[in-house]
Each structure stands twice: as C-alpha cells, then as structure tokens.
Amino acid sequence: MKLSEIAQVIRSKNAGPRRLTFDIMFGSDDDYRRVAQSPGLSAETIGGLYGVPAAEVTIFPYPVGRAIKVVLARKIMAGDPGDFDVYGAQQHAPLLGIEI
C-alpha cells in the first residue's frame, strides 16, 4: 500500500531557511504504528527520493501526535538564487508513492 493511501496529511515546509521538514500524519494509532514499523519509510528510501545521503535524513517518530517527522538539509537556502520553493511547501510529492 502507498503512503498516500494511509496518511491523512503529508506535507513539507521550511524549518528555518536551511532545513526542510516533512510531517506525515495519521488518522488512527493503528495506521501510525503500521507506517512507523514499516521498513519502507527509512532514511535510505527518503534519501534516495531526494538525492541526499541517508546520513543526512533525520526521522522523528511522534506517537502523541500520530505523526512521523522527517528533516533534511535544503540544497539551496530559502530565497537564494536558484531556489525553486521559498517556503518549501511543495517538496512532499516524492513521499506519496512510498510502499508501506
């Protein structure tokens, strides 16, 4: 099953101008646990999708909010020449198809 079929929210945004953060939120504790325990959502998978080394991907399980947070370094600082998404709000799409 794809992540987009389980999650209620899959979003990206800057956390400061040099970090990109993704929040994946679930409607039930069962859905949260299923994804949190799945090998599909790993630093390797996410690094591969975004073209960054797995070591630069941080994943925070956040059970109290039924959510998983992922943090990456931005390749281009927000607003620098060559930036393509100043708020970082449209970088979530590659996550949608992750197989859980």
Binding site: K13, N14, A15, G16, P17, R18, R19, L20, T21, D23, M25, L49, Y50, G51, T58, F60, Y62, V64, G65, R66, A67, K69, V71, A73, K75, M77, A78, G79, D80, P81, G82, F84, D85, V86, Y87, Q90, Q91, A93, P94
Partner: protein, 464 residues
Amino acid sequence: MSASGRVLREIRANRRPLRLLGASGQLGYGVPTPAFNAGLARKPDMIGCDMGSIDIGPTYLGKGEMATSPESTRRDLRKVLHGARSLDIPLIIGSAGSAGAKAHLDATLEIIRDIARTDGLSFRMAVIPADTDREMLLTAVRDGRVSGLDDMPALTEQDVRDAANIVGQMGTGPFRAALEADVDVIIAGRACDTGIFAALPTALGFPTGLSVHMAKIVECASLCCVPGGRDSILAILDDDGFVLESMNPDRRATPVSVAAHSLYEQSDPYTVMEPDGALDLTNAHYAAVDDRRTRVSGAAWRDSTDPTIKLEGATKIGERAILLCGSADPRFIAQSKELLPKVGIVVRDLVCEDSPEDYTLRFRVYGVDGVRMNVPPNDTLPGEVFIMAECIAPTRERASEVVRTCKQFLLHYGYPGRLSTAGNIAFPFTPPEISVGPAYRFSVYHLLHVDDVDALFPIEVETL
C-alpha cells in the same frame, strides 16, 4: 494606570487562571471578525498577534517592505486596537511589519498612530526595536561569539557591513519589561513568537514551560485545530496546564491536533529553542476536556547555560528581471534541458560584446523540473510547459536587457528537428519581460552568544 499595570496588579492581588487571546498568526492577512469578537466576549486578559516570519524569504527583510498590503494591515491593526482598548487589556504585537527591522516597525507604528488620530484613541505604547547594532556585531564576530545556524557558513565582517538589514529575535524578557512599564500596547520588531504570549504569564509567576508551550501554540491562532484555520483562539492557563479553545465553533482543538501542531515548521517536535532556554515537550500531555477543547500539561523548561540571540540579515545581490512564456511543442519540450543553456550562450555572446558577464540567467521549466528538488529519471514529459527565465544583474537596466534579448532568441532559436519555425514560445501577454526589483539573499542566519539576551532590545514608550 495603563492596561498592563492594571492586569498585573489585579492578578498579583487576586491570583486566578489567565486568559490569553491569540488573535492572529499573521496580522495583516485578515482577522476573521466573528471569532475575534467571540474571543473578546470571553473577557481575555490580553490580546496577542504575531505579524512576521522568516519563511517569506530575504527580500522583505532586505528591502524593508511589508509582505501584507497597507489596506489589510490597517484593517487588522484597527480591529485589534479597538478590541484591546474596549476591554482595557494589553495588546502585544511581535515581528512588526513582516520582518521586524526598523523600516517595518516604523511603517507599522505610522499606521497605528494614524488609527489613533483618526479614531480618537489614546494609549501608552511601548516600542521595542530589534535591529542589531553593527559595531557590537563586528566586535562579536572578532571575539568568536557568533556561530552559524544549521551549517550556515561563518559570519564575516564583510557580511555584517554588506547586509541591508540585520535583526535579532528578542525573547520573552523585553516583552515582560514592556509590560512592567505600564503600557496599553506593545509593538516589537523581530521577536520569537513565544515572547508575545509568554511574557504576561511569566511576569505573573506561572510556570515557564507551560507558558512557553501555550505561547508556541496560540501564536498560530486556530492552526492547532481540526480543521485548522486563522480564527482567534483562547488559552486559559493555570499553574498545572492550559486549556485551548478555538473561537470559531467549527474548529476543534483535539489532543491529537494540538500535539501535532508541535511539528509545524519545527525541526524537532520535542524541543523548542529560545534565547534563554529550551522548551522540553518530552512529557507533554494532551487530554480532551470535551470535543472542542484540549487541556495541555507537562511541558518543562531548561534554562540555557549559553544564552543566544538568533540573527537574521539580508544582503542585496542585484536587480531581478524575469521572462514568462510557455511551449506546447513536444520536440522543444523534450530538448529543453539542452536547448535552454544554448540560448543562454547566444544571449551572453550578444549582451557581453562590450560588457563583462556580470549577471546570472536561469531557466525553470514548469511541468518538467520547475518545483521538485530531485526529478526521477523516467519522468514522463507533459503536453505543455511554462518557462520562466530569471536574470539577476547589477542594475535594473542590465537585467532587463538580458531578459529582453533572451525572449527574442528563445522565440527564434533553431534546434535539431524544429518544425515550428515561426516561434518556439507562447506569451500570455506582452511585454512578457518584467522587472521585479532588487533581489536579496539571507547572508546572516546565526546565533549571537551573549550574557544578557534582553539588553539588546531597549524599550521606548510613547503616549498617543
């Protein structure tokens, strides 16, 4: 006695839970009136509004311009001023004018003074500028008291001199000092959004961890609810926790929605770094009061042994001009990756005949790779694309020359297999070239290590 003096005296004499109204997370983009009025009817002890963010990018900070329109900014300021004055409670606004530098603060104050004059309001107002003194910062750079945030390269003396504006994010202390100065209204330059709402409770001795956690949530108004939104939110804080309630009856603050808000725009959902300490949410607890209200407890506060002020600065890098056009030719689209840089070379050879190559020219092909950080190798090509060429050059004239030349040679560029020899691109309107204005980049995103995090933010009081 002014509003802050009255509220502090009243609650110190007769301690009770504190009621705080979060009116807006982005003052100037509209404050929905029904929820705001519902909040006033609940007799809050203060009204707070956040007005700025670093998210909007470096140009507003550098140029000294607000992101919001003057008309909507005035409408919002008028609404919250009248609300606060009608109840004689403090109104606290942080990060004035979108980016919180002197120009933004001055523009905000000008609107407030004009509203007071026009509407016959009189009040005492504390103003807290957030601009960083350059000489002080140069000394700090030399002394090694400045460090980069999130792998930002070390700050140089040249960076400090070149920046158009540098601001520091004040913490809760300056707001608290302003409240103690017996005022009705507090307008701060760049500030931590928590300072707006944590100042009053911490001045009254409510636990810092709970106060800062509450502040971190209500500064975004009803964004912590389902469905999230911009309506005002009420927090009722006591010594053991706080209850959140949206002032729009259709928005519910649930334990999961409130807990999930700690994720928003944060790189760590369990820790919020502040100038003088850290908010620790490891043991935060969220419990439903009913289906619309949640009670939050358990946040802890750790004082910092290394107090810091987060600095933000923007430097002008040139003038920006853009070209907007599209294509529906499958051969052009298939070759765009190779073809556009070649157009760039044609442009360079023309505009640099008697001038140095003093500009940058970038193409973004929307539909192909305009938005994504990393495009998968087997991505299918779309039926049409939107193309933006962006030039940053030393002058407006030079940037305009480059994009105008680019337009003509992109229109007529001959590429292998070309069938549409009358023109490669479609213009939605003409002229398709636009001078956007000065371009800036963030040159300062650093921590300044200081002994006294509040000393950098002096308070001025004026009577209107």
